[in-house]
């Protein structure tokens, strides 16, 4: 018995030693690095605005073609003070988000069917891939004929832009699952539903997430295209319509201001919604560093 205990402690000590030696220390980003990650893009932007200002000062082109950063800023401030800028941004953003959520709900079953069934994949993948390649602005004229100048037109265009990307992302996520994970699931005795719930869905998540990001980018672009083309009092003012107002007034400051606002909202969603989820996903799976 004493012999056995000695052996056991021997094994435990060996185990502890081996684990300690092999322990992986992950190095966190230094403060300087973090600071640079934050300030780097700001510096790049400052340089961009600086170059813009210099080009403006040199008077290569007329002011109505290229206004100064200051004038664009002023145009945005004016819109803000009239209460239009935030309303337009909010209208666009809420439409975009709603359309995007509908897109996700529609795309998930399609993506699952594509990913899980080879038959469905063979039949439908060329169509979803074709739709994904098609610039969804091409749907705007059709949607206007079908739905008139209504919100339905705008949502239809968003869906046609986002659904194929999300569905294809999920489907490729599923196709790329290492077969070993599926095999482990079967060894663990999963039912079909458990296999999907515990293995297929989590394993395909990075692909799904990539599809979501692309889907959002397409949704946002489609929305802007739709808002630019489908202008009607019934639709209210979105950033796309604001852009169109600028064009009609020949107000280049407003046009550039609206373009910057559209970009800004896009960056905001990426930084606040997608980047944290992506970072978390990659980090816990050991796909970072």
């Amino acid at each position: 018995m004493a012999e056995l205990n000695k052996d056991k402690s021997e094994l435990e000590r060996l185990s502890a030693g081996l684990d300690a030696l092999e322990n992986k220390t992950t190095q966190a980003d230094s403060i300087a690095r973090k600071l640079f990650n934050f300030s780097g893009p700001l510096i790049a932007m400052a340089i961009f605005v600086g170059v813009w200002q210099i080009v403006f000062e040199l008077k290569f082109v007329e002011e109505y073609i290229l206004p100064s950063p200051q004038q664009v800023y002023q145009a945005l401030v004016n819109q803000y003070q009239e209460g239009i800028l935030l309303t337009a941004a909010w209208n666009s953003l809420s439409r975009g988000i709603q359309g995007f959520i509908f897109s996700i709900i529609i795309a998930i079953p399609i993506g699952l069917a594509l990913g899980l069934s080879k038959t469905v994949r063979v039949v439908l993948k060329p169509i979803t891939t074709g739709l994904q390649q098609l610039p969804s602005v091409a749907w705007v004229p059709a949607a206007i004929i079908w739905f008139g100048l209504s919100n339905a037109t705008i949502y239809a265009v968003i869906l046609l832009g986002a659904v194929p990307s999300i569905a294809n992302g999920l489907s490729s996520g599923i196709e790329q699952i290492p077969s070993q994970y599926l095999k482990v699931g079967r060894v663990l005795g999963t039912t079909r539903i458990q296999q999907i719930r515990h293995i297929v869905l989590p394993a395909s998540f990075p692909g799904f997430l990539a599809g979501l990001e692309q889907g959002w980018a397409f949704a946002w672009r489609s929305l802007m295209a739709a808002e630019l083309i489908a202008v009607s009092p019934a639709l209210g003012v979105g950033l796309g319509q604001l852009l169109d107002v600028g064009r009609q007034l020949g107000d280049m400051s407003l046009v550039l201001g609206a373009i910057l606002s559209i970009m800004f909202v896009g960056i905001l969603i990426e930084k606040l919604a997608f980047a944290p989820i992506r970072e978390h996903t990659l980090r816990i799976r050991g796909l970072r560093n």
């Binding site: 052996d7 094994l11 502890a16 992986k24 994970y181 663990l188 394993a203 816990i284 799976r285 050991g286």
Partner: protein, 248 residues
């Protein structure tokens, strides 16, 4: 006291090929494994070891012959195959969850199993934060969580360094003795087979057939560098080399 005479695994005339025109991967295998026995299947590349284990684990079916197992076995691979989105503890819990165990209970049980493989402090670690040996121990804990009576192991330690492998041999034998599991361990490492097995079966390649078997009656515990292990290993190695030369 009941005398255990039942076989846990019985294989009769098992042959397998993938397609009607293909050559047999394994051919005419006949063997039995007793309850609580530790057998090692030894063979060079192409001996159909993995195919055999897949059939025993019911992941594949025989072309000819019958396989009877007392319980659907669990299977461990060379790669620990932990789910990277789960922590070590959650990986063990997954096996329990699929069996339908409740949340509270499975957390406690997973922790116990991790302690059994000396990883009590690693519950919240992600697979990528663990070394290869630690991952393989989590994989052992996950296999034990299934509470199957048969454990199939497909070269589970082949990718590990010698020191870690030696440690895991001891760990595995300790678990085997405590749990009374029936183990079918596949390897191409002769010393490992002699170190671990009560019985070592040498397989031919292309097609995989049983050539010879040895009952290992060496003293326990035996070290991988013990002289009697080396002597028997070199005898078996000679047979293995003869088999490999046949293909040259």
């Amino acid at each position: 006291m009941t005398v255990v005479t039942d076989f846990e695994v019985e294989v009769e005339g098992l042959s397998k090929r993938f397609g009607d025109e293909e050559a047999f991967v394994i051919e005419g295998l006949d063997f039995q494994v007793k309850k609580g026995e530790f057998i090692c299947l030894l063979g060079a590349s192409g001996c159909g070891k993995s195919t055999l284990l897949n059939i025993l684990a019911d992941l594949d079916s025989p072309t000819i012959g019958t396989v009877r197992v007392a319980d659907r076995p669990t299977l461990m691979f060379q790669d620990a195959s932990l789910m990277p989105w789960l922590t070590a503890g959650q990986n063990v819990e997954l096996a329990l969850r699929i069996k339908g165990m409740g949340k509270e209970q499975r957390r406690v049980r997973a922790q116990e199993l991790l302690e059994l493989v000396h990883l009590g402090t690693a519950f919240d670690k992600r697979p990528h934060e663990l070394s290869g040996g630690m991952r393989q121990r989590v994989s052992i804990a996950r296999a034990l969580a299934q509470e199957k009576s048969i454990l199939l192991m497909d070269e589970p330690f082949a990718a590990l360094d010698a020191i870690t492998r030696d440690f895991l041999h001891e760990e595995l034998l300790g678990i085997w003795k405590r749990t009374g599991l029936t183990v079918v361990f596949v390897t191409h490492n002769v010393r490992e087979a002699v170190r671990l097995g009560q019985r070592v079966i040498l397989m031919s390649s292309k097609p995989g057939r049983f050539i010879r078997e040895w009952n290992i009656n060496l003293t326990e515990p035996r070290r991988i560098d013990a002289p009697e292990v080396a002597t028997l290993a070199s005898e078996i190695t000679d047979h293995l080399r003869d088999e490999i030369k046949r293909h040259g």
